[in-house]
């Protein structure tokens, strides 16, 4: 599907939204800088979707940068590595910044010199490496989807045998307003990203790749086009600036014109989606055997005087980053991630960066609204990229008619927030849907327990 706008042909999908001021100008011209090394890092064992990792260290242990401190548990899980060299101060449950629920974390204090652990940071040959070895490297490096969903990458790159994957789609859309970390990564490390993408292709064993970049990043598009001038298998395309352009369904619809159910995975239509950040992490892990211990984080918003893109070690306290970016005194909201899907933080003292943190958004004067009854204007239906009826869903969820919500496909909602953004009655639609999903999950779990008892 394509959309003709000002003479240019951009690829896109149906639905979605775009705020008039996307706030990207704040950090668009700020090249990445490395944040100063943190004194203490808090590394959560659950920085990914799936089973939490098992802590391998205990209080008093000396660890070095890149050392494995949390081992993956089960198939869908990921390793966790020390991001600085030092002493393990404690292994204790702390509130996870993404959910607020307490989860085990390893606290490391920097006492040693910042040197890599033995075995890491060695250059290896990436031309002759086998797909199995690539997957092993990715798995041991603890790489997860860095676009924000944090799905373990080695699982994503191990599709079932009966599914044929023909294309790797790389997401360079960065559709969330305010964030520019992927933009800067693509600007600074295009060669590395493309090598990472090729490694992912080799790992799956497919020949084709398609890169999608939003049209507000035309410089990146031209850069990639130049690099890939004589590669016919890797296509680069511009897409319309629209949220959620970078979501799997919308990306695949825009680039490959393939559709699949919201409850299905992209491999149903022969595609695998990876983020540019993930591709870069894959390159680092395979070429240099460097585990995932740092990432680019955009610290932005009107609540910081010096918005910036920082290369940050995982587990760095957010306070330190905010001080670096000169936080204002009268802020009202700090959000992890972008404004659409980000998670507001309740306690800045315990908030630390995790693998999925692409941005920290600091806002002054965030408004609070009174929500009203649905006026059935239908704007949410127009904006829903998954073709759901958010109006009906919000009403049924508010009445706690969860069975009815289930009939209206509440489980197909990806909580992108377009409906809530456009709602003139300021209804907390996504919150209502999240509530219904949690309750339905609880009821299903209860029913399974009951049927097992019988």
């Amino acid at each position: 599907m394509s959309f003709v706008k000002s003479g240019l042909k951009y690829r896109t999908f149906a639905g979605g939204i775009h705020p008039l001021d996307d706030g990207k100008a704040l950090t668009r011209n700020k090249r990445e800088i490395t944040a100063p090394l943190p004194k203490t890092v808090y590394l959560f064992m659950s920085q990914h979707i799936g089973a939490p990792a098992k802590p391998l260290v205990k209080k008093g242990d000396i660890v070095r940068k890149g050392q494995l401190i949390g081992e993956l548990q089960g198939f869908i899980s990921a390793n966790v590595h020390a991001s600085i060299s030092g002493k393990v101060v404690d292994v204790t449950p702390l509130p996870l910044p993404t959910t607020g629920v307490k989860s085990p974390a390893v606290i490391i204090e920097r006492t040693e010199e910042d040197l890599w652990v033995d075995g890491a940071n060695v250059i290896s040959d990436i031309d002759s490496i086998s797909p199995g070895e690539i997957r092993k490297c990715i798995q041991s490096a603890g790489i997860v989807g860095l676009g924000g969903a944090t799905f373990p990458t080695h699982v994503k790159l191990s599709p079932p045998k009966d599914k044929i994957i023909d294309t790797v789609v790389m997401n360079g859309a960065e559709c969330e307003p305010y964030l520019t970390c992927d933009y800067h990564l693509m600007l600074d490390k295009p060669q590395e990203i493309i090598l990472g993408l090729k490694l992912a292709m080799k790992c799956i064993g497919c020949k084709k790749a398609h890169i999608g970049i939003e049209s507000n990043k035309e410089d990146v598009y031209r850069l990639f086009k130049n690099i890939l001038a004589d590669e016919s298998d890797i296509k680069v395309d511009l897409m319309e600036v629209k949220y959620p352009q970078g979501a799997e369904h919308q990306l695949i619809k825009a680039l490959l014109d393939r559709e699949f159910k919201p409850t299905q995975l992209p491999l149903e239509v022969g595609a695998v989606v990876i983020n540019v950040g993930t591709a870069f992490a894959i390159y680092e892990a395979v070429k240099f055997r460097r585990p995932l211990i740092q990432r680019l984080v955009t610290v932005t918003g009107d609540g910081v005087e010096n918005p910036q893109n920082f290369m940050v070690r995982l587990g760095t306290p957010v306070k330190q980053l905010l001080e670096e970016a000169k936080i204002s005194t009268n802020i009202s909201k700090v959000i992890f991630g972008g404004p659409m899907m980000g998670i507001a933080q309740s306690n800045l003292d315990t908030a630390v960066t995790v693998k999925g943190t692409g941005g920290i958004l600091v806002l002054k004067g965030a408004k609070q609204w009174e929500s009203h009854a649905c006026i059935r204007c239908g704007r949410c239906i127009d904006s829903c990229p998954y073709g759901l009826n958010p109006s009906e869903l919000s009403i049924t969820c508010e009445a706690k008619e969860f069975a009815l919500a289930l009939e209206n496909n509440v489980m197909e909602c990806k909580e992108c927030g377009c409906c809530t953004y456009v709602c003139p009655a300021k209804r907390p639609i996504v919150h209502l849907i999240k509530f219904a999903k949690a309750e339905i999950a609880k009821q299903t779990a209860q029913r399974t327990v009951q049927s097992q008892q019988k």
Binding site: I343, S346, W369, K400, H431, L432, F435
Partner: protein, 274 residues
């Protein structure tokens, strides 16, 4: 006249034929319903609360007759209904203790972590950042349990905590089921001593969060003559099978976490009289 007579006779004959047909059919295809189901249904409270685990009151009545549910299964009707159901079924009825809901939290001086502006439902609030309350285990106070009560046996007190009217409570357990933090327990009415805290935080941490929290000092454990109270995971837990509600632990509890309902009630009456 002739026309009228002909019509009357035809209709009369038709009516007789259909009447006989229906009479035969109703006898031949009759659905045999156990009269006991109907009788039991009549003595049940009719709230369709589902506390018995059956789909409504008629479902329970059928289950009793089929032998799938005990005659004492109706928690709402308690002893009165159980006796009537037992009579209908012609079995001996053993008295079951009356149970009531108890709120196991007495949050006092707990600060909020952040301003919550979302849906007014504890379950919805609990999934936002792990709940807005400073205590991870305490009552959020949005009244989901009160909304769930079908017998108007609960109300939100002045201190923001739900209050159970023990006389009206039927022990159906609906409030306990909807509470996202599992603060409400359904316990025998005769049990008067309760630990009103669910915090598993360490003593020093819990004390800072809430004035009435259990700090796991083990004073209660030491004084209990019946070995009925034990500190597990930084929280005093009463074994209600052993507890006699003697109230010794209430006296030693430094944070007034453990309370005696009997004493509270008499105290309340006293203040009212004065």
């Amino acid at each position: 006249m002739e026309l009228l007579l002909g019509a009357a006779i035809t209709l009369g004959i038709l009516g007789m034929v259909f009447g006989i047909g229906l009479a035969i059919a109703s006898d031949k295809f009759a659905v045999k319903v156990d009269p006991r189901i109907e009788n039991i249904n009549e003595v049940l409270p009719g709230a369709n609360c589902g506390a018995c685990g059956q789909p409504g009151c008629s479902g329970f009545a059928q289950a009793v007759v089929e032998g799938k549910a005990p005659v004492t299964g109706c928690t709402v009707g308690q002893a009165v209904v159980a006796k009537l159901v037992a009579n209908i079924m012609g079995v001996k009825f053993e008295n079951r203790e009356r149970v009531v809901a108890v709120v196991m939290c007495h949050a006092r001086g707990v600060k909020n972590k952040f301003t919550y502006n979302g849906i007014k439902d504890c379950r919805a609030a609990n999934i936002v950042g792990g709940g807005f309350l400073g205590c991870d285990y305490g009552c959020l106070g949005l009244g989901t349990c009160v909304d769930a009560c079908k017998f108007e046996a609960m109300y939100m007190g002045d201190d923001g905590l739900p209050v159970v009217i023990r006389e009206r409570c039927t022990g159906c357990g609906k409030c306990a089921a909807v509470c996202p933090r599992k603060i409400i327990s359904v316990l025998p009415e005769t049990k008067m001593v309760h630990v009103r805290c669910k915090s598993l935080d360490k003593g020093a941490v819990a004390k800072k969060i809430c004035l009435d929290s259990c700090i796991a000092c083990k004073q209660c454990e030491k004084i209990c003559p019946y070995d009925a109270i034990h500190v597990q995971n930084n929280l005093a837990v009463i074994d209600y099978n052993k507890c006699t509600s003697c109230g010794k632990c209430v006296e030693v509890c430094p944070n007034h976490t453990i309370i005696d309902f009997a004493r509270e009630q008499s105290l309340a009456m006293y203040t009212v009289e004065v």
